[in-house]
Amino acid sequence: MTPAISVTGLTRHYRGQLALDDVTLDLEPESITGLLGRNGAGKTTLLRILAGHEFASAGTVTLLGASPVENETVLRQMVFVREDQSYPDLKVRRVVQVASWFYPNWSHELADELLEEFDLPLNRKVRKLSRGMRSALGIVIGLAARAEVTLFDEPYAGLDPASRQVFYDRLLADYAEHPRTVLLSTHLIDEAAGLFERVVVIDRGRIVFNTAADDLRGAATSVSGPAIAVAEFTAGRPVWNRRRIASQESAVVAGALNETDRARAAALHLRLEPLTLQEVVVQVAGAPAASQQERTSA
């Protein structure tokens, strides 16, 4: 199958700063991928280049087999919803209407349902909307466009948890009926994790993981209990993180544990807690540079 999104050797500098460093990535059509990483890791730069809003310093990008740069055929099959998106200062009704002219797969029905569910004032000018309402408007357009390639960059600034739930549920429901390629960058990993079939984790402009989301769940285990027992159990295993208080220690051990490991932990009176997807991502892409180095060499 031709990938919906294909990126090869993509590099982007800003005045000597390396925002993306030799990124290579293929995303299959009809999948939802989470784009995860810390602030400044390169998520937004990657999405902007995919959307044709920004140019690569080196490397190639194709969407649906063609370059997105100034390519109207591709751009009509691609929707990009940014954090704090700005719109021309028109009434909400008009913004939605203009968007509907642009996207060939636009669903008026879905747009109307979403506008109602988010309780958006149709006759209010965009400038007068709250931040959360502007985010909701972006989500309405991003979903109703039913674009083959749908890019969301932290699309919910100012949205309350109930509205974010509407977004996740509506995305899943509409995706089930009309599958497309969705790439969603987010910091709210715990909330959004269930949506993802795959996750791409970026750290300092490089891809550190591109894998099935389920592969990261439980990919590391927190082991805690008496420090002596923890030391015995973790000897010879890759340890990502250790914390200690009095005679107690908690360590994060990389890799899945088998039945023998579990029995041994039980015999040592240790508590085992598998890490969630969010916790694994924080471990692999959340550490400051110094401890990251330590981890790699461990």
Binding site: A173, E197, A213, D214, A263
Partner: protein, 125 residues
């Protein structure tokens, strides 16, 4: 954390979907020959990606616990419940008796005392 109808974030979701369905079959909530929920229904209920739900179903299909009827959907295979129960009996000692004995010995409860406690417990059921 989002409400995913009790799915845990610390283990692969597709495995948990397979386990939930297997539990339902073992408990008789889904009987042999009955149609199981579709991938999209499972995805909407658990709030997960449909591909993840499909992978859970595929796991049970590979085990022969579910069977596909072309153009209709997935159904519980004949003999599925008996097979699941047999497997669980096999794993009963490892999953329940071993931890029980281990904890009892930590607390200084000997085998006779443990047996007495089990007898007492089972009269309450």
């Amino acid at each position: 954390m989002r409400d995913m109808a009790g799915l845990a974030e610390g283990a692969p979701l597709f495995v948990q979907i397979a386990e939930r369905l297997a539990d339902e079959i073992a408990d008789g909530g889904l009987v042999e020959g009955e149609q199981v929920p579709s991938t999209n229904e499972l995805a909407a209920y658990y709030r997960i990606n449909p591909a993840t739900a499909a992978k859970g179903i595929a796991m049970l299909t590979d085990d022969g616990l579910l069977e596909k009827r072309r153009g209709i959907g997935m159904f519980v295979a004949a003999g599925a419940r008996a097979r699941l129960l047999a497997e669980r009996r096999k794993r009963f000692a490892e999953r329940y008796v071993e931890p029980l004995v281990a904890e009892a010995s930590r607390l200084g409860i000997d085998a006779d005392e443990l047996i007495a406690l089990i007898r007492e417990g089972s009269t309450k059921l």
